[in-house]
């Protein structure tokens, strides 16, 4: 049962335009939602997160929006740069004391064309 879903396996965007990556989840008990970026042969690196009590979090070119009623979040990258080309994983966390595991989506490969 995939609790975190990214329905778009890939996305291609022109440099300078906006990239919008989407993520849906099924478990309403998640506390935090995170976006990780992954280059080939490297581990995932943290990009931005949002608490379940908020609907927006912004960090430079990256903004994450959360719609709890729709169980949907999205990552906006503007303006997109060629260096943003990577696989983006959406992840969710339900904080439970000594455990903090993340549940990942299947990833979206973003290609930013120069």
């Amino acid at each position: 049962d995939q609790q975190v879903k990214q329905n778009s396996p890939s996305l291609s965007v022109q440099e300078g335009r906006i990239s919008i990556l989407n993520c849906d989840y099924t478990n309403s008990m998640f506390d935090y939602f995170l976006w990780y970026k992954k280059y080939p042969a490297e581990g995932p690196t943290f990009l931005i997160s949002i608490s379940s009590i908020k609907d927006k979090n912004e960090d430079g070119r990256f903004t994450v929006f959360l719609n709890k009623s729709a169980k949907h979040l999205s990552l906006h990258i503007v303006p997109s740069q060629p260096g943003d080309s990577a696989v983006y994983f959406c992840a969710a966390n339900r904080y439970g004391g000594a455990t903090n595991k993340l549940i990942f989506g299947t990833g979206t490969l973003l290609a930013v064309q120069p």
Partner: protein, 115 residues
């Protein structure tokens, strides 16, 4: 800044052999997580340790075992290897205070190939 260190980065084994992966968390992090990522798949949670005790368990096969040592490093032991165990194995670490944003810090992964 020091990151999560994993070794070896690459490992090739035959079926039915045993493999051991090591993970050194970020200094002062008290929790270690192991994830398995198959080709074209999302990282799947295997197991985690908090203060050297198992804190959570995911889809880890019975053939696998793991532990966290007194210096907080962790080892993932895999026995009776199967072809399907070929994957990228990530270790991550975090500090688990009462307020937490959920961020885990990942190592670069160990790629296991079973022939």
């Amino acid at each position: 800044a020091a990151g999560v260190i994993q070794s070896p980065r690459h490992l090739i084994k035959e079926k039915r052999e045993t493999a051991t992966l090591k993970c050194y968390p970020i200094p002062r992090h008290d929790t270690v997580y192991w994830y398995q990522q198959g080709p074209g798949q999302d990282p799947q949670f295997l197991i985690s340790f908090y203060e050297k005790m198992q804190s959570d368990k995911g889809s880890i096969p019975d053939r696998f075992s793991a532990q966290q040592f007194s210096d907080y490093h962790s080892e993932l032991n895999m026995s009776s290897l199967e072809l399907g165990d070929s994957a990228l194995y990530f270790c991550a670490s975090s500090l688990v205070p009462s307020a937490n944003t959920g961020e885990l810090f990942f190592g670069e992964g160990s790629r296991l190939t079973v022939l």
